[in-house]
Symmetry: D3
Subunit: 284 residues, 6 copies
């Protein structure tokens, strides 16, 4: 061959073949229901582009992405303006990966995309729990008259899973109704990760979907998001929390709500890349 291959574009170090992979990445570039400031549609592409600015080696774990098998299947082409159709496409992709005995890792997009992947997981796993790191409760029953909205995503997950299945951490924004709902139906920790050890213990070996809304981070660490909420957790705290939950039986996960246009410095994308490296190495 002459060195002239088609241009392949994957997340740093995720060059495994699909068959060999334990974790499979895909992007869900969708932000149609974002009510405030859109832009998360650009996240998955930006994360791939910018991942080449970091190293494959983690000095935190003394492990290297080159030693594990991850496959990056690129982005779904999702229909803007049609949340239900987008969720179907996401569910389909997640289902294939789950059925092949692999762990789907979805890169959002707005937080609503989580619902598609959770639907796929809930059909395959009884007793599914969700671990949810976020600044926002996302427990509204509807938002501006719409039920499939980023602001309702955990409520829709609740509709699927029922009481005491959703463990929420870092929450610092919501309506009074959402906080009242949480008191009864979910396990919610405001502002920080206090009580995470206990939650890990309680969940035990139940299958877990982990959803990470990156705005759980303080905007000083992560300005590139649509709805920055001061008073969040720090990067090292988040690394610590991820280490803790890595002992759980995580069968699927996502990171979402990076909005590259709102961080001209690029450091939010860089942080997301580094975090994804650390998560992949932890969860592998």
């Amino acid at each position: 061959m002459n060195g002239l291959e088609k241009n392949v574009h994957v997340f740093l170090g995720c060059e495994s073949e699909y068959e060999d992979a334990k974790i499979v990445l895909f992007g869900a570039p969708f932000d149609s229901t974002t009510s405030y400031r859109p832009g998360t549609r650009f996240a998955s592409s930006a994360i791939r582009n910018e991942s080449y600015g970091i190293e494959t080696f983690s000095p935190y774990q003394d492990k290297d992405l080159e030693d594990i098998n991850v496959f990056d299947s690129g982005d779904l082409e999702l229909p803007f303006g049609s949340p239900e159709r987008a969720l179907e496409d996401i569910e389909k992709r997640a289902s294939i990966i789950l059925d092949d005995g692999k762990i789907p890792c979805m890169i959002g997009g707005e937080h609503l995309v989580t619902l598609g992947a959770v639907r796929a997981a809930a059909k395959r796993y009884e007793n599914l729990c969700i671990v949810h790191f976020d600044a926002h409760a996302d427990l509204r029953d509807e938002y501006l008259g719409v039920e499939l909205s980023h602001a309702c995503v955990m409520r829709r997950c609740y509709d699927l899973l029922g009481d005491e299945r959703i463990y929420q951490f870092g929450i610092r924004s919501g309506t009074r109704d959402e906080f009242e709902f949480a008191k009864v139906h979910t396990k919610m920790q405001r502002f920080n990760f206090d009580g995470l050890d206990k939650a890990v213990q309680k969940i035990g070996q139940n299958p877990v979907y982990f959803t990470l809304d990156l705005d759980v981070l303080d905007p000083k660490d992560f300005p590139g998001t649509g709805t920055p909420e001061a008073g969040g957790v720090g990067f090292n705290e988040l690394l610590g929390a991820i280490e803790k939950i890595s002992k759980l039986n995580i069968i699927a996960f996502d990171i979402n709500e990076l909005s590259p246009p709102y961080d001209q410095s690029g450091r939010s994308t860089a942080l997301a890349c580094k975090l994804l490296r650390e998560i992949l190495l932890r969860f592998y």
Copy 2:
């Protein structure tokens, strides 16, 4: 009274009472179906804010906004992620204004919002024609499987109005299919305003909905838009074309596709303000 009134926020010089107004402004901040780069949701608010950077007086027409009666009713609160619902809300607002014998002037938002107002107009006016200035044909039958998309808006209008009712100018982007469709079903002038005089003559006193996608302007004049297409018309050309169509029986109109985040200089918003002043003075 003590000079402490509630803060009223209207487009420059549009301080008439509703009853006295001949033209009624409203904003339609919606961009959920935008497939490429969102941001037009911020247009109507930006136009109001920035309108105070220009004068009420037009040296082009020697007329002044303070001498005419326009009412600004603010923005609709539209549900992101639900195009059909958004179109209903728009249709409702336009219908009220039309029924009160006034001219609605909608500030988009993405181009799909036009469909809501056209529905209202088409129900009230037989023989409705559309004059459409745009860089894009917007004649797709569906886009990524969705029929209510900005890329389909003129096709949906066509579904309502039928053959030879839509006059398109400045078009310089589309699929081969769209250009084929236009040959048969609409009156399309590529790239510029050639033939506009003839079109004005042909339309005669039929009621006209005028829709102005601001990206008909060259990006050098108007960078602040989601899909900039080089090779467009100039600002003075556009002023000339608007003067020509002001002889028509315009019963409703809109300007759309300003996306303030894509023009850090603010000059696209400033141009939109100036253009809106000129249009209001021309159409009054």
Copy 3:
């Protein structure tokens, strides 16, 4: 009525009538004496616009803006280039509010605007104290030959109030002369809020004007300001300090020095909105 009202533009949840309001907001968009990087003139408008990105409910206090009565009277139209005239207009507005037995809350603007409101307060309240959170001492006697400058505002307040009336916290920038002056004439705590409890005790039930220069926050929390000074306090620290001073007899207050153009991410404005919500709920 047909649902078509004039567009009213107020800070989130501040929809009370003037008569019912205990706190009255107004904006003072003025930055003519800013010597380094202007832009605070855009703060009050940005804060109103962006306030709709946060919730009315505070999970910190379990209180909601919808349960209290605040009136937003919009922005003063201040003459750029004429600080004395601007201060007169501000004093007039603050005086009306004070005379009506309400608490004025001014949104700057550069820090000089504080002088106008302090003049109004000092005329009405004997023994007025000022609590001043800031990165900068603002105690110069003149700056580039000018006495009405943002860099002199606390010195001008001192001229009105005299020794030991001004309590300064968080100060980390100034000339040697300013720090010498503070040793003799004000109560100054460098860098942080140490000693705030004692100060609260000492002030007792004297009437207090609270002025918050947002650059007291570290630039990592609050980059959107004209003169960012590393080494500042954190958001949670500031919330704590505000809780402490809420026990004082605050008769007027302001927040100033947000400069939206210097934070493209928008998070500084978002933080200012959240902080204003927390302050309104604390001081009510």
Copy 4:
């Protein structure tokens, strides 16, 4: 000597000694009265910095800055918030240069700074005429109650010089009153340079102050300005107009209203540098 000299910072190629110079540059970084969007205070520094991105040689004139004698005396330190004091400082600087038989070239700053230099010129030259290129008439008698405002600068010059001394070109914005005033008291050409030849002839050998508000250019050529007005002249047109007026007896001139923060691409500053090179070579 060891090659370690103090860092001198001048406009490209303007390295003459003061004694030898025919033209003397100075910056007037002042924008306190700017009512809309400040930023011109950064212009003179940006122009010096960026001038090294262009060549000293002009392919338009086949001349080189290295062959002429221009001295750059740096920026005045002007007191923000005090227009009268700033104008005094400017007048003083311009007076020294004029008294030394040299041509002052002032780099603004907002347009008000012109008044300081015109005062100096008017005291030294009877029959002084002004040639004024601008988008805005700048003929208000007062603005927000202030007489020393950028929006009034030509009116204040008129107060000094009287009828038919001010020749205005390119004007496309103003109040009705300003345009009425111009009909009686100045020579105003709207939108373009038509009639410039005739004006040059009429002015003859009278001494001329030339003031160039760069926003006479269309924003497509020059987005980096506080008040962009669509419909302006092009760069080549402006070069042509400058060639025409170079036959006049120009005894002082300025360029103003570049606002670098509003053009992230830097091309407005680059254009200003190139234009200044061409003007210096033309007027020498």
Copy 5:
């Protein structure tokens, strides 16, 4: 298969296999010698990303990218800081494509990259001519003591090809020496495309390397470049010039000097995408 393929990232519509392709794209992301403002290293990636914002169909030519065979081989990984090594890698890539009887299309990068491809072409084609569209002469013999600099690239090509082989159009910046050199050794047209017809005739069927420095466009059309030079050609003019030279025997070509960071609106990248579509359809 399950729909899960590796993520391939190519320019819009360039999905041919290598064997079938007549034109082969590759990126040369290198800008180490850029003396003023770097950033062209990001061009090829941005062009691929953003190409999906335009259509494959050209309404100018009534042709479609989907009907022609172009292969995109991705970007070279070039060593920053080592121009000679970078040029070797570029020459190698261009040589393979030329030897396979295909037309290389290189996307720069700074203009120096052209030298690598010209070396490959010059070794394979006697009588090679260069058609060069640019704002800058690029004819310096050295720049800051360096011979392999973007500012010298046409001089280095001249060293390879000799007198009267290089046809330059649109040039509007250079030192006096460069313009003197051009008078003797190249064919240079200042400012525009006058004389292009004659040049096409003179070149006849000689093999031609076409190099397009996008800054030949006026910055109003194309702000996203490191060294914007006012007074350039327009987009439609450039399309016309490209149509003219499409009659030549073009054996290789490049487009370079797009610097995405300097155009926050993205329209420069969008224009480059559209231009590349038009060039590919013209040259095919």
Copy 6:
């Protein structure tokens, strides 16, 4: 004299004559080998410009820049694209200063520039040690085939100095090979400044070159850098570390890797200015 001097442009308060100075500043605006995102070439100029936004007085040390003697010799003009030549020029400048018994303070530029100054120091001082604060190990033997790369700069210094001469702190990014290398050949502390006291003790009175890559700071404090790495040290921590090393025998130092284009807020440059003030006052 008439007050018209040439415009001198130095870092705040560094107005000493060369002869009297103990510390001599110079800028090394070079970033040709930057592989990811260039921009550090703009740092030294930005630092001078923006230094006037801070005070000369330090409330941390109760000292003032006006009381010490520092000379600012401006920027070297370095040849982009030729690292070896650039390093020669840097070595020459540093050598002159060292030979005059003064302390060179270099403002980068990318980190490679350190090598030039270290070469000068190593020739003059036996037993030279390096104290290195950085996010990145910079210990690669080559990068993309190049040995003179920013990613290799500490390895090249190691080649000069040998084992156990380089003390590295804050390192949180590198390849596995670099961390293995460090275990054997340098003293490396990951993530923070633990062990700095011990290092200071061990170094004793050996001559020390201190190199500060500003990206050792967390990106929340310092976003304006090419390769932001989350998880870094804070500003106050860094001040503390600098106080500690100020007891060493520092014979030369540099600060590098500020990239102003990546921080639109300007706070990274402001922090660098403040830090440089504190370092100058500490090391004097």
